[in-house]
Structure formats: structure tokens, C-alpha cells
């Protein structure tokens, strides 16, 4: 089961990589693979058992897989220190502002939709 699901995932990534070289150099191969798989699932209308098993297995360990990439920060310690306040300031401010804005916008839109449905 797990192997069959994994095979699908790897196949879609390989397709994605081929398309990336052939037609879409601005989109990363794995992302094209994800879009292809999504379209495939839409056409099929359901997620098969092997894919569910493989996807949930991999995604459960996604944080672990991100650790080696995150360790790469040690190479850029100097660049971060050089722009330290710009980086921290921009990250904190933009996060807080967009967090509040997103929540507020979504709530306003949901309320508007509810009002429209009540008064047809």
C-alpha cells in the first residue's frame, strides 16, 4: 500500500520535473507535480487508499524533513546579522498586520454571505 502510494508521488514529481524543463521554467518541479496530482484527484473524484497512506505518512514527518534545510541558516549567519533589524522588524510587523487583516476580512465576508442568504 505504502509503496504504491509512494510510487505515485514520485511519478508525479518526475512528470513535474520534466514539464519544468520543457515548458514551465518558473515553476519548481515538485509544485507542478502537486498541481498535476490535484487535477488528477479532481478528475478521479476520490483519493485512493494507497495515496492516502503514503501522503499522510510523508506529511506527518514534514517537519523532520525541513530540519536539514533549516540548518542551512548557519551558512547565512553573517547576512542575517547584517540586516538583523530590517529582517526582524519586517517579519514581526507584517505577520501581525496581515494576521489581523486576514481574520477581519474573512469574518466580514462570511457575515456578508450570511446576510445575503437570509434576504434573498
Amino acid at each position: 500500500m505504502l509503496l504504491r502510494g509512494l510510487t505515485w508521488l514520485v511519478l508525479f514529481q518526475l512528470f513535474g520535473t520534466a514539464l519544468n524543463v520543457l515548458l514551465l521554467p518558473m515553476l519548481p518541479g515538485p509544485i507542478i507535480g502537486m498541481l498535476l496530482l490535484f487535477v488528477f484527484l479532481l478528475l478521479r473524484g476520490e483519493v485512493g487508499e494507497p495515496l492516502t497512506v503514503a501522503a499522510s505518512g510523508l506529511l506527518r514527518y514534514l517537519p523532520l524533513l525541513l530540519v536539514p534545510a533549516a540548518v542551512g541558516v548557519m551558512v547565512y549567519a553573517e547576512a542575517i546579522i547584517a540586516d538583523f533589524w530590517a529582517i526582524v522588524g519586517a517579519l514581526v510587523l507584517s505577520l501581525l498586520l496581515s494576521l489581523v487583516f486576514t481574520g477581519w476580512l474573512m469574518q466580514a465576508l462570511i457575515e456578508r454571505q450570511a446576510r445575503r442568504r437570509e434576504a434573498p
Binding site: Q13, L27, V67, P68, A69, V75, L91, I110
Partner: protein
């Protein structure tokens, strides 16, 4: 008997699986520390990725290994990131069916708030005097790391730095998101989840799941859609502008 300790030590730290070994070890340590802590203020600081990253860096420095060598010996884990990115299509599909009713508010919020979140980071960093490399790395900070890293690399940023920006953003969002949103009067679970997933990706989604199941579902949806939209449109926009 004369044992050659230094030779054994060298063989150990230069073994092609050393990177995999220390990553697996520190990650499980970090996970255990995270689960055992009940002090809420400390918990976000013990974010497993953050903690195991720091531990791995510590081990590498102590052993005198550089990042390139670690990268080679952790290849087994790095190579799995691609199929994991493809696998994100599965929760996206599952959630898309669950959330049909709020389709328009969701799509509109994604479009407007997604653009605002991305622009705000870049503009603020620019206003505070960061260099172009940092700006391009800052742009995809609101999406889940595999996408952010790929996109950052594509548009002239640095993948590893993008991972760190994403991490800081996620941890901060999960840390103060729910409290902040409640203070400004956002109560709808879908709105709460949307805000957490769209701005704070995976870490925010995990936090939203703790708030309620509906929040969690919307956070997962927002995270996936924001990820795909960023992956598709950000490189296009940058290619057109620069």
C-alpha cells in the same frame, strides 16, 4: 591492546549516514521536549524544527563539520521533500470538498489577504533597508517551507534563509495569533483558521487545530491554497517586474 580512538571518531563523524543520524536523534529529542512542556509561554520556543535545527548546528560546530558535508550526509531526508510537496495535493483535495459552502469568502480572502501579506513583508523589509537578496527571500515567508524554499531559490533569494523566515513567521503567528485575533473581535472559527493558515502556514495550522476542528480545516485549506498561489504567481510576477 592499543585502540585507535581518533580514527574511530573520524570514521563516525564522516560516515555518509552521520547527518541522517543526528537529524533523527535531535528531532526526536526536540519532539519529546515539546510534548513534555506544559508551560504555555515556553512551548512556542520549543518548536521542534527550531530546536532540532539549533541542536544539529551545535553538533556540527562541536565536530568541526561544515554545512556542505552535513548536506551530503543528510541527503536521504532532503530527497524526500519533493514527494512530500507533491503529497500536499491530498489534504488540499480533501479539504476543498469539505469547504464548498464558504467558497467565495475563502477565495476572496485568499486573493486579497494573500497579496497583502506578501507585499507587506517585502515593502517593510525594503523600508527598513534590507538588500535585494533578503527581499526576494522575504516574499514567500507566509507559505509552507518546501514551497517557500523552492520559490525563494527561483526568484533570486536563498532557500535556507527562506526556511528560517518561514519558521520565525509560523512560530510567531501560532504564538500570538489566537489571542490577538480574539482581541480584535474575530470569533468565527473559519476566519480564525483562515488567518492562521494563510499567514502562519503549517505551524499556524497545527495551532488552529487546537482551537477547533473547523478552524483546523480552514487553516489547512488556506495553507495549501496560499502555497499553490504563491508558487504559481510569485515567480511569474517577479519575472515580469524585474
Amino acid at each position: 591492546m592499543n585502540l585507535d580512538w581518533p580514527a574511530a571518531w573520524q570514521a563516525l563523524i564522516h560516515h555518509p549516514l552521520f547527518g541522517v543520524g543526528i537529524t533523527l536523534g535531535t528531532y526526536q529529542l526536540a519532539l519529546a521536549a515539546y510534548e513534555r512542556t506544559h508551560w504555555r509561554l515556553l512551548k512556542p520556543l520549543l518548536q521542534p524544527v527550531l530546536l532540532s535545527m539549533l541542536l544539529v548546528i551545535g553538533v556540527l560546530l562541536a565536530c568541526g563539520l561544515n554545512y556542505r558535508e552535513y548536506q551530503q550526509s543528510a541527503q536521504l531526508l532532503i530527497i524526500l521533500l519533493g514527494p512530500s510537496t507533491v503529497a500536499l495535493a491530498v489534504p488540499l483535495f480533501v479539504n476543498l470538498r469539505r469547504i464548498r459552502q464558504l467558497l467565495w469568502p475563502t477565495l476572496l480572502t485568499l486573493l486579497i489577504a494573500g497579496v497583502v501579506a506578501t507585499l507587506l513583508g517585502v515593502v517593510l523589509a525594503w523600508a527598513l533597508g534590507a538588500e535585494p537578496m533578503i527581499l526576494m527571500t522575504m516574499a514567500p515567508k507566509s507559505v509552507t517551507s518546501p514551497i517557500a524554499m523552492l520559490v525563494a531559490e527561483q526568484i533570486g533569494g536563498v532557500a535556507a534563509l527562506a526556511a528560517v523566515f518561514v519558521l520565525i513567521t509560523g512560530v510567531l503567528g501560532a504564538m500570538c495569533g489566537p489571542e490577538l485575533l480574539r482581541r480584535v473581535g474575530v470569533q468565527h472559527p473559519a476566519a480564525l483558521g483562515m488567518a492562521l493558515g494563510l499567514t502562519a502556514h503549517a505551524v499556524g495550522t497545527a495551532q488552529a487545530l487546537q482551537e477547533s476542528e473547523e478552524s483546523g480545516a480552514f487553516a489547512a485549506l488556506a495553507m495549501s491554497l496560499m502555497g499553490v498561489a504563491t508558487a504559481v504567481f510569485l515567480p511569474l510576477v517577479v519575472a515580469l517586474l524585474v
